[in-house]
């Protein structure tokens, strides 16, 4: 792997760069007092990288993930996704990016509680405008691929934590996004289930998936090829490690 070139304002990212942030900043205005959650994060992630983001609580990991997942808007700085400058996009274009380019796995799953596993996985396809029959087949395939082929008609409260997280992963991947973002995906799982989930991630990575994952746990981070550590809203370390 060649070393990444430093990015300057006015540049455009190299073609194999999936995610590029430049001095990304996010302030929260808490009634007069400003919380500076991110204070200029510059990072480049190549296609098919597997990155773990670590750091103490409150260091800005979730804030960073939400920004690169297009769930939140930066206060300042640039964010390029697949060579496209996200900060310039309209509301509808952002919705399209969330739909097609990004698969987001939350610590708290964020499944629709009253919908079946199948319907939950169908949601991104609905907003992609897929016809009903194709959509159902594709969602069913995604569920089967995470080992939930026999749980499609179950609602989230009829599933275990690990099963819910796998539904969430199936949902994140069903539209074949260019990046998979996971914010503490094992945070609510026991160690056996966490290990299974890491197996799923490893397989996805081997299949060419770009993955960015936030975690507190070193043995989870050990699965990634690169570890980025945040501290007080800036990058403290950025290291490659042997798989």
């Amino acid at each position: 792997m060649t070393a990444l070139q430093p990015f300057r304002t006015g540049d455009t990212p190299l073609p194999d760069i999936v995610i590029l942030t430049h001095k990304l900043t996010r302030d929260y205005d808490m009634g007069g007092e400003v919380v500076r959650a991110l204070r200029g994060v510059s990072l480049q992630i190549r296609k098919n990288e597997y990155v773990a983001v670590m750091g103490p609580s409150g260091s800005g990991k979730s804030t960073f993930m939400n920004l690169i997942g297009c769930l939140d808007t930066p206060t300042a700085g640039e964010y390029w996704l697949n060579g496209q400058k996200v900060s310039d996009l309209s509301d509808d274009e952002l919705a399209r990016i969330r739909n097609k380019e990004i698969g987001f796995v939350f610590q708290t799953f964020n499944l629709l509680p009253r919908a079946t596993a199948l319907h939950n996985v169908e949601l991104p396809l609905i907003y992609a405008g897929q016809p009903a029959r194709e959509r159902r087949e594709q969602a069913a395939r995604a569920l089967t691929s995470v080992g939930l082929g026999d749980r499609m008609d179950h609602r989230p409260n009829e599933l275990s934590g690990g099963q819910r997280q796998r539904v969430a992963i199936a949902r994140a991947l069903v539209n074949q996004p260019s990046i998979l973002l996971a914010d503490e995906p094992t945070g609510n799982l026991d160690s056996a289930t966490s290990a299974e989930l890491m197996q799923v991630f490893r397989d996805l990575h081997r299949g060419g998936q770009t993955i960015v994952m936030v975690t507190h746990e070193h043995d989870i981070a050990a699965h990634a090829a690169r570890v980025v550590t945040l501290r007080d809203g800036v990058i403290a370390t950025d290291q490659l490690q042997a798989a």
Partner: protein, 412 residues
């Protein structure tokens, strides 16, 4: 997202949130029910008054020449006393007026009072005894169900024949056909020659308890002093011809009564319009007050729905966040909530229409108040009730759909 998809989604959510859905329909339901129900009473009264009440008492294109108005509401004592002092309408007056009219009309004499009718020991009390001439049946649209009316000859000769009202006939002759039997009025026998078809009731009073005999028969003694009638009834073919006939009748009566130009008429000419005057005054008030009340009900209902929806949307902001994080555009969210609110409002409005109609049918069955559902009230109910429901459902959702996905997701 195609619209069909939004509807499917909406139905799913409604099924999933039964209780909330029920509550949100109730507001629309109450508004629409109340609107249709209340309106149907006013509307029914109005139709009843214009079509039946006035028509029954006076007749269409018809006027009654009387000593004083028969139908009157809240008349002062002094006026009433002056009416009592007026001369009565004589046979000779009736004949003179009839002869003088140049427009084509049909006329009949009419006198009435209350009394008893007997048949073989059975007595029917409080029956309207009517002395008339033969055209009375035509003028008042009385259809003879069984037998015949009396003939001009019988009318002129004062033959002792009678036509019975439906209820009276059934009371005196429960098992036998009354035709050919003799009933007695004040001891005098009259041969029954006909029975009038059932007419129903007017504001709860039966219209079928009467007996009609020729004015020149002995029944005259029961209803009026000799040579006097209560009214000369004149029916013209059209409203203008009726007006013309009224002018001619007035002129004849004034000259017969030797009234000077400045003196008021000392007789009355009553039309169905006159009867309606009173009702029109009342219905103007009802039509003004009724929709006001209904409007208040709808506004209150709307606020209730709006609040329910606001709560529902606050609770569902997370859902909106999830959907947005998966690629739903603002308009997808709006469409979903629009379909949902529309479905709920439709259910509410439909139930409201059915209940409103049911209420009006019930009202008609158990009370003398006539109720009649007006199509306009249904349209208004659906438009206003449904509109309130939809706006109340969509407005809060449109606010939630504007949030960043993460802001929506963070809300509990």
């Amino acid at each position: 997202m195609p619209f069909f998809e939004a509807i499917r989604l909406a139905l799913q959510m409604i099924r999933a949130q039964k209780l909330k859905s029920v509550f949100s329909t109730i507001g629309v339901f109450i508004g629409v029910t109340f609107l249709i129900g209340a309106w149907s009473v006013v509307n029914g009264m109005n139709r009843y008054m214009t079509e039946k009440f006035a028509g029954t008492l006076v007749g269409v294109n018809t006027f009654h020449l009387r000593r004083s108005p028969n139908v009157n509401f809240d008349v002062q004592d002094s006026v009433w006393r002056s009416w009592r002092r007026r001369p009565r309408i004589k046979f000779a007056d009736a004949n003179a007026v009839t002869k003088s009219l140049t427009v084509p009309v049909v006329t009949a004499w009419y006198s009435e009072d209350r009394g008893s009718v007997e048949y073989s020991g059975k007595v029917a009390k409080d029956i309207t005894l009517e002395g008339t001439t033969e055209r009375y049946f035509d003028i008042m649209n009385l259809t003879i169900g069984d037998g015949r009316p009396f003939t001009p000859q019988e009318s002129k000769a004062g033959t002792t024949v009678v036509v019975l009202g439906y209820d009276l006939a059934h009371k005196l002759f429960p098992d036998v056909n009354p035709i050919g039997h003799n009933v007695r009025i004040h001891g005098i026998p009259y041969r029954v020659i006909g029975v009038v078809e059932r007419q129903g009731n007017l504001l709860g009073i039966s219209l079928d308890k009467f007996v009609v005999a020729p004015a020149l028969s002995p029944i005259q003694r029961e209803v009026n002093p000799p040579g006097v009638v209560d009214a000369l009834i004149v029916k013209a073919n059209s409203e203008p011809e009726m007006r013309e006939a009224m002018n001619q009748a007035e002129a004849v009566m004034r000259s017969r009564r030797h009234l000077r130009p400045r003196q008021d008429d000392n007789f009355a000419m009553e039309t169905s319009e006159g009867v309606l005057d009173f009702w029109n005054k009342l219905s103007r008030i009802l039509y003004a007050v009724g929709p006001g009340l209904v409007g208040i009900a709808l506004v209150v209902g709307g606020i209730v729905i709006m609040n329910i929806m606001l709560v529902a949307v606050a609770e569902r902001t997370r859902e909106i966040g999830i959907r947005k994080s998966l690629g739903a555009r603002r308009r997808d969210i709006l469409r979903q909530f629009l379909a949902e609110a529309t479905a709920l409002a439709t259910v509410g409005a439909t139930l409201g229409i059915l209940t409103g109609i049911g209420l009006s049918v019930l009202l008609q069955a158990v009370s003398p108040l006539p109720a009649s559902v007006s199509p306009f009230s249904i349209v208004l109910g659906v438009v206003v009730g449904g509109g309130v429901g939809v706006i109340a459902g969509v407005y809060p959702a449109s606010r939630a759909a504007r949030l960043d996905p993460i802001t929506a997701l963070r809300q509990e």
